[in-house]
């Protein structure tokens, strides 16, 4: 009995400890991110590996999510004789929710895990310590550019995801099923508001970008310097990012869309 209690207590204390360390780490990244903008080449390289290399998976899955939304939406809407509203359904669900959330989840598993693995391996092979020895700050040189690369890539990827989704739904709805092209676009434009829907969606994706990038670099930096430690850090990155995205999504949604849409 005491052993169970002790284990729970240790877990809790450890969790709070890590949370505090993560907050301090976040502050350290922000304080030392001067280098990643002064030497922007470093950040550009990270945008390439997190953003450009994630393009394929984001574009393809966005298109397929759009296809599925188009099919399912049409199936439901045509029962009520309002299949013209397909555009609204697809655009609102993508721009408000699915775009940022699904792109965030994909981004966490595609780019976040790679970030963690890279930094974790650098730590395991003592490259970070070696940098410290040469008076090169590893947070400024390694961590901050990766963090900002992730933060910059994420909103762009989410916007691309939503765009591909709308295009996919248009493809299945208008080209294959035969929903009226004009009604599809005009109904969509009539009820998707720029500030209310699109800007809020972009804000969401920026917040998710911060969360995923921070979790990824933190787990890498905090990983145990062994092969097993790195693998566990990667697992934690994916799991924690997914949980953080879904929880943050709920919080942000309840702030942004308070039932007066």
């Amino acid at each position: 009995m005491t052993r169970i209690l002790r284990a729970i207590g240790a877990r809790t204390v450890d969790g709070i400890w890590r949370m505090g360390f993560a907050a301090r780490f976040f502050a350290a990244i922000l304080m030392r991110s001067g280098t990643s903008f002064a030497r922007f080449q470093l950040t550009i390289r990270e945008i390439f590996s997190t953003g450009v290399l994630s393009l394929i998976i984001i574009l393809v899955s966005g298109f397929f999510v759009g296809l599925v939304l188009g099919l399912q939406g049409y199936e439901t809407l045509q029962r009520y004789g309002s299949s013209d509203a397909l555009g609204i359904l697809v655009a609102l669900s993508l721009v408000r929710e699915l775009g940022p959330v699904v792109a965030g989840l994909l981004f966490a598993s595609r780019a976040g895990s790679a970030l963690t693995a890279e930094i974790g391996l650098m730590k395991t092979t003592e490259q970070l310590k070696a940098m410290d020895m040469m008076a090169v700050d590893p947070i400024a040189r390694v961590v901050a550019p990766r963090f900002w690369g992730g933060v910059i890539s994420m909103p762009l990827l989410a916007a691309l995801f939503s765009t591909m989704g709308v295009f996919g739904a248009w493809f299945i709805g208008v080209v294959f099923i035969g929903v009226d092209d004009g009604a599809f676009w005009s109904q969509m434009q009539a009820s998707v508001d720029f500030r209310y829907d699109i800007v809020n969606g972009v804000i969401k994706s920026v917040v998710f970008g911060f969360a995923v990038a921070l979790i990824a670099v933190f787990e890498g930096y905090d990983s145990a310097p062994t092969a097993e430690g790195v693998s566990r850090a990667i697992t934690r990155t994916v799991v924690n990012s997914a949980l953080a995205i879904l929880a943050l999504d709920f919080v942000l949604t309840s702030f942004m869309f308070r039932g007066n849409g």
């Binding site: 080449q41 550009i44 390289r45 945008i47 390439f48 953003g51 450009v52 393009l55 309002s82 655009a91 721009v95 890539s153 909103p155 762009l156 990827l157 916007a159 691309l160 939503s162 765009t163 709308v166 676009w185 969509m188 434009q189 009539a190 009820s191 998707v192 508001d193 720029f194 209310y196 829907d197 699109i198 969606g201 972009v202 007066n260 849409g261």
Partner: protein, 158 residues
């Protein structure tokens, strides 16, 4: 600092990402079409606003001329006070009629302005005097039922 192929790819990525945001703003959203520039504020009191919501369109002859900005309840007159921003390009006579209408059977509710014949125009801050409340389906049905109930006993007597 020399340019690399990497820069090109990142440039393409950022450009495509910004193009996607623009596409969402212009083609999916209504930034281009319903962007109302300068507006003036009008007000109207309704007995019942039904399901009217803030940001609902204000239309005249079916054209969107403004948006509802605020809906409050006046506890001294017991009416709903609807404030709306109307595009500066359009001015309406003083005796304009404001109705709450529904687009389609299940569509959203909007304010329809029916133009009167007054020579004086509404100015910013004015209140539209003539209004008609939203049609509440329950009231309509109950009226219909009462009429039917009132009719039916007479029918056999005739």
């Amino acid at each position: 600092m020399n340019r690399t192929v990497l820069d090109l790819w990142v440039g393409v990525f950022v450009a495509v990402g910004i193009a996607a945001v623009l596409f969402l703003a212009l083609k999916v959203g209504n930034l281009a079409s319903a962007n109302i520039g300068e507006t003036y504020r009008l007000q109207a009191n309704f007995d019942n606003i039904g399901g009217l919501k803030p940001r609902a369109p204000v239309k005249s002859s079916g054209v969107v001329v403004g948006r509802v900005t605020e809906i409050t309840f006046d506890s001294s007159l017991y009416v709903a006070v609807v404030k709306m921003d109307v595009d500066k390009r359009y001015s309406f006579p003083r005796d304009t009629f404001a109705n709450i209408l529904t687009s389609g059977l299940l569509g959203e509710q909007y304010i329809g302005l029916e133009v009167g014949g007054d020579t004086e125009m509404l100015k910013a801050g004015d209140t539209i005097a003539k209004t008609q409340s939203a049609v509440v389906l329950e009231k309509l049905i109950s009226q219909f039922m009462f009429n039917k109930a009132a009719e039916s006993p007479q029918a056999p007597a005739q």
